[in-house]
Amino acid sequence: MAINNFFKGAVEIGTAMGVTLKTLTLKPVTTEYPRDPVPMYPRFRGKHELRRYESGMERCIGCMLCEAACPTGAIYVEATENDPEHPTSPGERYAKVYEVNLLRCVFCGDCEEACPTEAIVLGHEFALANYSRRDFILTKEILLNPGEPNVIIRPE
């Protein structure tokens, strides 16, 4: 019996080593984060961004539908009238204040679905840790100038 077991064991070790040897030649599935960038699905929902038109005008028209759609009350918008000479956005009004509270946000994406002008989108940035509670409030300035701007707009 003992000899039998010895051969069985040898075959199994051989099989296992075969897997090891085979895998040695494959590319790794993990990434060396943060040295290497993380592969991202196009529909990943990360940190919010506010987008502009190519002319530089803000897309957000301050309609506050995102605020209404937000299930956790994470968005606060304060709209005001556009100066007709120097409009901030096309239309009569723009968002004077636009704030997203990341401590409340559950990244459901309802805001981007509600947005009639595709101004608010969830980007691909996911490293959101911070040192103070105040820094979790994304102001309009932060939202308009994301680190990595060219996000993919998800198809409906």
Binding site: A68, A69, E81, P84, D110
Partner: protein
């Protein structure tokens, strides 16, 4: 087109469903925006079109239903909007270059069915589904219009009218609707201030209140209770005023308590029920009053909703207006007799009217006629400056009227002359048979409530005399003290003797320093000045202690309007970052420093105490008052039918001198009004208005910088030509920012000379 898939499951759908405009939104969500069957290009019209500084018209949204046009024609009687173009191109527009300026024009925003007219002050600052709506009232004048305050994130966003058929129907004036920027202003006081080393420095509440109590007690023991005075405010709620007078009477022990336009004004409570009748709905030509006389009151500027009620009485009820005013006020266009009297000729005018009434009746022996035996038509013409024809028409109307209402305001009723004017009015009203329908209207939100609460030096709460045998023991038992019996000093007496026999003042919600420079100097001489305010006013800047209070929108309170209706102003918002406290809480804690335990836990419990203390307010608890207010019972009001002589010293003006007139304008640019920047163009400005004839005589032109001078002081203003002002009169409205006309008037009637400034 397919519906957008987010809509059917998104929470925004739920939010929209809860909003008042959800139907249209739901249709779009369900069926999509749709493809138009029209092949023509869409007609483009003005979308962002200002028809006044405060109202924006979107002509593309407009469905040409005419409601705005009808409102301006049927209520305001000012056809400032009209239909232009023909057929499908019809638009609503203003006359070229003439913006809508009716005093209640904002109501067309409320009645627009499609939202084509929007409120420029409030628009875009909220969406309808995210505001909290609180039923409240307006506190800008004494009508007490019912309003709804829309708030969001601890700020007041919008004020709209609320229906109360006994007060304002559903209309409110533009000042009440738009001029609310001060509520959210950054300059509001947020912390108690105490003067240390010459400057006001923030301190904690206990420190400030302890200091107030210590100082007041020290002054009370060294100079006596009557060296301390209290000034309430007719702009504040009944609760605030009741507790202030209780504090002064119970804990200080003095009757030195009054408010502006308080004991200095000859008021008359017996006409209150008559005013209520004027404000009731009127549907057809069945007049409650066939003749209405306005004496020295201009509802269009002072009480805009009363102006609407009067126009309704004239146009639907076919009432006749008799107007006596030194200015050709707007309501004079209804072609009733208009008597443009000289300031200082009030009593001469009224005595002249009584004389003419007696003459028309051929009455020579009654008590009333004996009082005016020496009066002649010449006096009427020369002293009062009134045409005899107009006076005769007025007397004829009054004598033949079934129900005539006579309204007078604070302008002719002020000071020593005011008592005479009131007596002359009573003589005339009694003689023509309308004595019980002679009514005084105060102008501040709680003018009537302040009187009811006993913020007067000569009356306890509920119009109870200081030595009344029934009312006084009732209050003494309730408060557990013996009340002082000597009458105190009135508002002007308190301020005139401040720094002299008055050592300390407790001023709540009043700004006497801005009224007259000599009062400001007197306040500076005080040993101790406490000011309870919402802004650092001129008076507050001179104070030793400033206590921050909250406005009507941030606390609960009840206000009594000009026809004695007690109404609730509920708390609509609260600023979480401020240390400011409601008046009742400040006074309760201050009473605690005097070892009194008043033990109110809310404004409502003060309201409940008032219902015990003031017999007129019996049963008026917070819940009982309700959303539509309650009138107190006027059963006990008695009209005096005695006749007494009324006389007034003749005010002589030298050549080149003009008689000075004040009076109130709606858009005065005062402390609070000036903080709504959208209204800066309509504010009155620093003008003295004179008749063009006078200006020509004095060699002055429109817009000249002039010095207005008399023995009390000098004001530098710009001259404005105004044909509505009577020749021989200079008009400077009260409470213009930085133009204290009170300085020149000094509480009486005065003349001024006007000259060009040197440079």
């Amino acid at each position: 087109m397919q519906p957008r898939n987010w809509a059917s499951r998104s929470p925004s759908f739920v939010a929209i469903q809860n909003s008042s405009r959800w139907r249209a939104a739901a249709q779009t969500i369900r069926y999509g925006p749709g493809i138009s069957q029209l092949v023509e290009a869409k007609r483009h019209k003005n979308k962002h079109y200002l028809i006044s500084d405060t109202i924006v018209l979107d002509q593309e949204r407009c469905v040409v239903c005419w409601r705005c046009i009808r409102y301006l024609e049927e209520w305001e009687d000012k056809p400032q909007l009209g239909l232009f173009e023909r057929g499908g191109a019809t638009i609503i527009d203003i006359q070229p270059g003439q913006p809508v300026n009716a005093k209640t024009s904002g109501n067309i925003i409320d009645i627009c069915p499609v939202g084509a007219l929007t409120n420029r002050v409030a628009r875009f600052s909220f969406r309808p589904w995210e505001i909290e709506r609180t039923p409240s009232i307006c506190t800008q004048c004494s009508i007490g219009c019912n309003t709804r305050l829309d708030t969001r994130t601890h700020t007041l966003r919008r004020v709209v009218g609320r229906e109360n058929m006994q007060v304002n129907d559903q209309w409110i004036c533009d000042k009440g609707r738009f001029a609310n920027g001060w509520v959210n202003d950054e300059k509001r006081l947020t912390t108690p201030l105490v003067r240390k080393d010459g400057t006001l420095q923030p301190v904690s509440w206990p420190e400030a209140l302890t200091l107030v109590a210590e100082k007041l007690q020290a002054i009370k023991s060294s100079a006596g209770a009557d060296a301390i005075g209290g000034i309430g405010s007719a702009k504040l709620a009944n609760e605030s005023n009741y507790l202030l007078q209780r504090f002064m009477r119970q804990l200080i022990g003095t009757n030195n308590i009054d408010h502006r336009d308080g004991a200095d004004i000859a008021a008359l409570p017996s006409g209150l029920p008559a005013l209520a009748d004027l404000m009731k709905p009127q549907y057809g030509p069945d007049p409650k009053y066939d003749v209405i006389m306005l004496f020295g009151v201009d509802p269009s500027e002072e009480l805009p909703i009363l102006d609407l009620h009067l126009k309704r009485a004239v146009r639907r009820g076919k009432a006749q207006l008799i107007i006596a005013h030194p200015r050709r006020i707007e309501l004079t266009r209804y072609n009733g007799p208009f008597m443009q009297y000289m300031p200082g000729g009030e009593v001469a005018l009224l005595n002249g009217l009584l004389h003419l009434a007696a003459k028309a009746k051929e009455d020579k022996n009654s008590d009333a006629v004996k009082l005016v035996a020496k009066v002649t038509e010449k006096q009427l013409r020369e002293v009062a400056g009134v045409e005899v024809d107009a006076a005769k028409r007025a007397v004829e109307l009054l004598a033949n009227a079934k129900n005539a209402l006579i309204i007078y305001g604070p302008m002719p009723a002020r000071g020593a002359n005011g008592v005479q004017v009131r007596q002359a009015l009573q003589n005339l009203a009694n003689y023509t048979g309308h004595g019980e329908r002679l009514a005084y209207v105060g102008l501040d939100a709680n003018s009537q409530g302040c009187r009811d609460m006993g913020v007067l030096p000569n009356a306890l709460p509920g119009h109870v005399g200081l030595e009344d045998e029934l009312g006084r023991p009732h209050l003494e038992q309730l408060w557990g003290v013996t009340l002082p019996v000597t009458p105190g000093k009135s508002y002007s007496q308190l301020l005139d003797s401040a720094g002299d026999s008055i050592k300390a003042l407790y001023i709540m919600g009043a700004d006497p320093a801005s009224e007259r420079p000599n009062w400001a100097a007197n306040l500076d001489k005080l040993d101790f000045l406490v000011v309870q305010e919402i802004f650092l006013t001129e008076t507050a800047q001179m104070a030793d202690v400033v206590l921050p209070a909250v406005s009507w929108a941030e606390g609960n309170g009840t206000f009594t309007n000009l026809e004695r209706r007690v109404q609730r102003a509920a708390k609509a918002l609260g600023n979480p970052q401020t240390k400011a406290a409601p008046d009742w809480m400040i006074l309760d804690h201050l009473a605690g420093q005097f070892d009194a335990n008043w033990a109110h836990d809310s404004a409502q419990s003060v309201t409940a105490e008032i219902s015990h203390a003031v017999p007129l307010y019996a049963g008026m608890t917070w819940n009982a008052i309700g959303d539509q207010g309650r009138q107190w019972d006027a059963f006990g009001l008695r009209t005096s039918d005695d006749y007494a002589a009324a006389e007034q010293p003749v005010l002589t003006a030298e050549a080149g001198e003009l008689r000075l007139m004040d009076g109130t304008v709606l858009y005065d640019g005062g402390t609070l009004f000036g903080l709504t920047r959208q209204l800066s163009n309509v504010a009155f400005g620093l003008h003295v208005a004179v008749n063009p004839a006078d200006a020509a005589r004095l060699g002055l032109e429109d817009g000249t910088a002039v010095k207005v001078r008399n023995r009390y002081g000098i004001l530098t203003l710009s001259l404005k030509l105004d044909a509505t002002v009577k020749a021989g009169v200079a008009w400077i409205p009260a409470s213009l920012a930085g133009a204290p006309v009170g300085a020149l008037l000094n509480g009486g009637l005065e003349v001024v000379s006007i000259e060009k400034t040197d440079n």
